[in-house]
């Protein structure tokens, strides 16, 4: 095997950060299988060619495994004549366990199967959350999938379908957690497994679950449906710990970094160094808990906020999700059923009403939030807005009827309370 010269890529072997080029070269130079040596050699050759010409040379196509409509990202080389051994270099998207937990044994099993069938290159994880097995031929794709599918791994989504979801480490380790993130993650995607494997939706649909408003999973901005843990009773305060922190850092530091940084001015530092929180006006932003995690903790009446419609650029520009459910408990089986039901109503309505290639948030932008809420059977409420309408161009002939609905809902709430 003649090794391709890679003078530009070689420069990425310099410097202290671990080098992916050195890793690919290890496969080329020391892997016992000739197939892998040759494949990674040609991969390096093509990549060097990209670096020289500043252009990409992969094109898509169709590759799938039996029974599924997606999950493989086909890659065929446009310069396959020069680099024949990597001319098919498909990526398999495989769903990670909720919370991204692995044992070393499970990783070794995956590595063993992957080097039997693929290039030996893998990423934990792609930006959507999949384990990405990078570099299989059309033939080996099915074999590799069969192998790992028997061990409990399933493909993720690609194309117009429900995509792989993500959940934070959450209750597994983090004291900020307010929901069972992993249960929410699995319940949601696994309920839509058919919509994941057989793409037939207007476009992609992503779920992400974060246990608190720190939103480590970036769900508000990146998920069509975002589930964020929160609580509705009081922040739990350990006053002795808080005083100890004030003693350590000084009153000025605490005022400058906690009191004045609260977005709703809900915190006062008392003269005896204890703290008082105006819990009714606390918006659970997490800042003060992040600063003093030993003294301040989420309350006990935990649940989740649901937002719909986050997405990135294409087509109308970036959108954040919008609050659809300000608070719901996620404890009883009925609570969890309701969560799934909200997802179902949303996806059904969106599937029926979106234009081709239109994300859920874009549809809401086009038809208005009120039409969407009517479509999924959720009543309006003021937590859904930052402020009421500013434009006077609105027809209000049924104002009185709408006002009656508001009072009826308020009465109903009182009765159940």
């Amino acid at each position: 095997m003649k090794k391709h010269d890679t003078p530009m890529l070689d420069e990425l072997e310099n410097g202290p950060w671990p080098s992916f080029i050195s890793g690919i070269k290890r496969l080329r130079d020391t892997h016992p299988e000739t197939r892998i040596n040759e494949m990674t050699n040609d991969l390096l050759g093509q990549l060097e060619h990209s670096y020289e010409t500043r252009k990409g040379y992969w094109k898509g196509g169709t590759v799938s495994v039996y029974g599924y409509g997606c999950g493989i990202i086909p890659r065929f080389s446009e310069v396959g004549d020069a680099f024949p051994k990597s001319k098919e270099f498909h990526t398999l998207r495989v769903q990670p366990p909720a919370g991204n937990f692995y044992t070393t044994q499970s990783l070794r099993d995956l590595a063993d199967s992957w080097e039997k069938h693929g290039s030996g290159l893998v990423t934990f994880h792609g930006q959507t959350g999949n384990i990405m097995f990078i570099g299989s031929t059309t033939d080996s794709t099915q074999h590799f999938f069969d192998d790992i599918n028997e061990k409990g791994w399933d493909l993720g989504g690609a194309g117009p379908c429900v995509r792989t979801a993500m959940s934070c480490v959450g209750a597994g380790r983090c004291e900020m957690s307010n929901v069972n993130e992993h249960k929410a993650h699995r319940l949601l995607v696994n309920n839509f497994i058919d919509d994941m494997h057989r793409p037939a939706l207007p476009y992609k649909f992503k779920f992400k679950v974060s246990g608190c408003a720190n939103d480590c999973m970036n769900s508000i901005e990146r998920a069509d449906m975002s589930v964020i843990g929160t609580w509705r009773d009081d922040i739990k305060v350990d006053q002795e710990e808080f005083k100890a922190y004030v003693g350590l850092k000084g009153r000025k530091y605490v005022i400058d970094n906690i009191v004045t940084r609260c977005p709703t001015n809900a915190i006062s530092l008392n003269d005896d160094d204890s703290v008082t929180i105006d819990n009714q006006n606390c918006v659970k932003c997490m800042h003060c808990l992040n600063v003093v995690p030993k003294a301040l903790h989420p309350g006990d009446d935990k649940g989740a906020t649901i937002l719909i419609g986050g997405k990135r650029t294409l087509k109308i520009g970036d959108l954040m999700g919008t609050v659809i459910v300000p608070f719901m408990k996620l404890e009883s089986e009925e609570d969890w059923d309701r969560l799934v039901e909200i997802a179902e109503e949303t996806i059904d309505f969106w599937a029926d009403n979106a234009l081709e290639h239109e994300r859920c948030g874009e549809m809401i932008e086009r038809i208005g939030l009120v039409n969407f809420l009517e479509g999924i059977g959720v009543e309006v409420e003021p937590n859904m807005i930052a402020n009421p309408r500013e434009s006077s161009y609105v027809r209000t002939d049924d104002w009185d009827d709408e006002a009656v609905k508001w009072y009826e809902r308020a009465d109903a709430k009182k009765d159940t309370a």
């Binding site: 959350g129 990146r222 970094n257 970036d318």
Partner: protein
């Protein structure tokens, strides 16, 4: 008698249960954690109501892992930790151990193998990255290479906690931006309309859906040299590249004119203020493999000023909110141009409609 081999039907198990792979101490104390602290960079200690502790050691890797590197990470996990790992959203590996004595030997083993311990709290975290020339079909640049080159330069900030607050950076190798929002984002920005290969369009592209894809309605069907093709109103075109994935003959990537742009102030967290989108601060930066020095220099300049000028706990968006954009451009010595002023739908709300001016 040729018997066709029966195809195996997939087992549609979906997302696996993470519980089976979770450290026993974490399983035992699931949902019962009380507080955490941060004994040193790259190390977190979580304490449960029960009194149990779990120590987490976080390390940066090359993300594109070869099986050898993956096995090395596993070997370290077996020998120095309890065999349980997880990956963060930014592709760092985390080891979890119950006993504090295991922490130092584990760090030593990781560093000996060249992995970088850090990335916690107020550090510059691992840059989250996309696929690039290595395996995407539409990239204008590489992703792994940009990240490697930048992390080489930012490694001390990854290993230490000297930033006012955490810095989450992202890269994206096309304007679709799989990399997402970041405190600092380095993204491709095309500057010339697509070059159309008219011979291929009718074979390869579904023309009405390509026309529909354009955010500014700049594409229309046309006959070119007797063939059904598409044409672009080049005055209208914003060079976004959205037509390229559904129609590869509309080549948007250009070795010279696909540039890099830098955006700042994207923040996913709700802490202190609602989540924010990133804002354009620099463009026209050469896409210069293999080490992209011009982009790295600007990133380092922004980080330096942020580190000097921001207060504790201010993310980049919080900091700029306090000091204002004129001062940001002054401190970073980046040029302010007409392109910084948003003229997209709704852009007017980004203008200053007040008498608030800092002097």
């Amino acid at each position: 008698m040729t018997e066709q081999k029966k195809q195996r039907s997939p087992i549609e198990t979906g997302a696996p249960d993470g519980f089976q792979y979770m450290h026993p101490t974490m399983r035992k104390n699931f949902g019962q954690w009380k507080w955490h602290d941060h004994p040193k960079p790259g190390v977190l200690r979580h304490k449960a109501e029960s009194g149990d502790e779990i120590w987490t050691i976080r390390a940066g890797t090359q993300r594109i892992l070869d099986v050898f590197t993956l096995r090395t990470l596993c070997d370290i996990g077996d020998k120095y930790a309890d065999g349980f790992v997880r990956f963060t959203i930014r592709s760092n590996i985390e080891y979890m151990v119950k006993d504090s004595e295991k922490v130092e030997p584990l760090i030593e083993a990781l560093e000996k193998e060249g992995f970088i311990v850090g990335g916690t709290k107020n550090s510059v975290a691992m840059i989250s990255h996309t696929q690039g020339w290595l395996h995407c079909d539409i990239p204008g640049t590489d992703a792994s290479g940009v990240v490697k080159a930048m992390m080489d330069e930012l490694i001390d900030e990854f290993k230490n906690n000297e930033m006012p607050n955490r810095v989450h950076m992202t890269t994206s190798c096309c304007q679709i931006n799989c990399g997402g929002q970041g405190d600092i984002a380095i993204n491709i920005q095309h500057t010339k309309p697509p070059k159309i290969n008219h011979d291929l369009v009718s074979n390869v592209c579904e023309r009405p859906s390509v026309v529909a894809r354009c955010p500014v309605a700049a594409i229309r069907p046309a006959m070119v040299n007797g063939k059904a093709s598409l044409e672009v109103d080049e005055k209208k075109c914003i060079c976004c590249g959205a037509c390229f994935p559904p129609c590869p003959p509309m080549q948007i990537n250009d070795p010279e004119h696909s540039k890099l742009a830098i955006w700042v102030g994207g923040n996913h967290s709700n802490a202190r203020s609602k989540p924010t989108f990133q804002k354009l601060v620099a463009a026209g930066i050469p896409n210069n493999p293999p080490r992209w020095p011009e982009a790295t220099a600007i990133v380092k300049r922004i980080l330096k000023v942020y580190k000097e000028d921001a207060k504790d706990w201010e993310r980049i968006n919080d900091w700029i909110e306090r000091i204002g954009w004129p001062r940001f451009f002054e401190l970073t010595e980046l040029p302010f141009t007409k392109h910084h002023i948003d003229n997209w739908r709704g852009g007017r709300k980004t203008l200053n409609s007040s008498a608030y001016i800092r002097f």
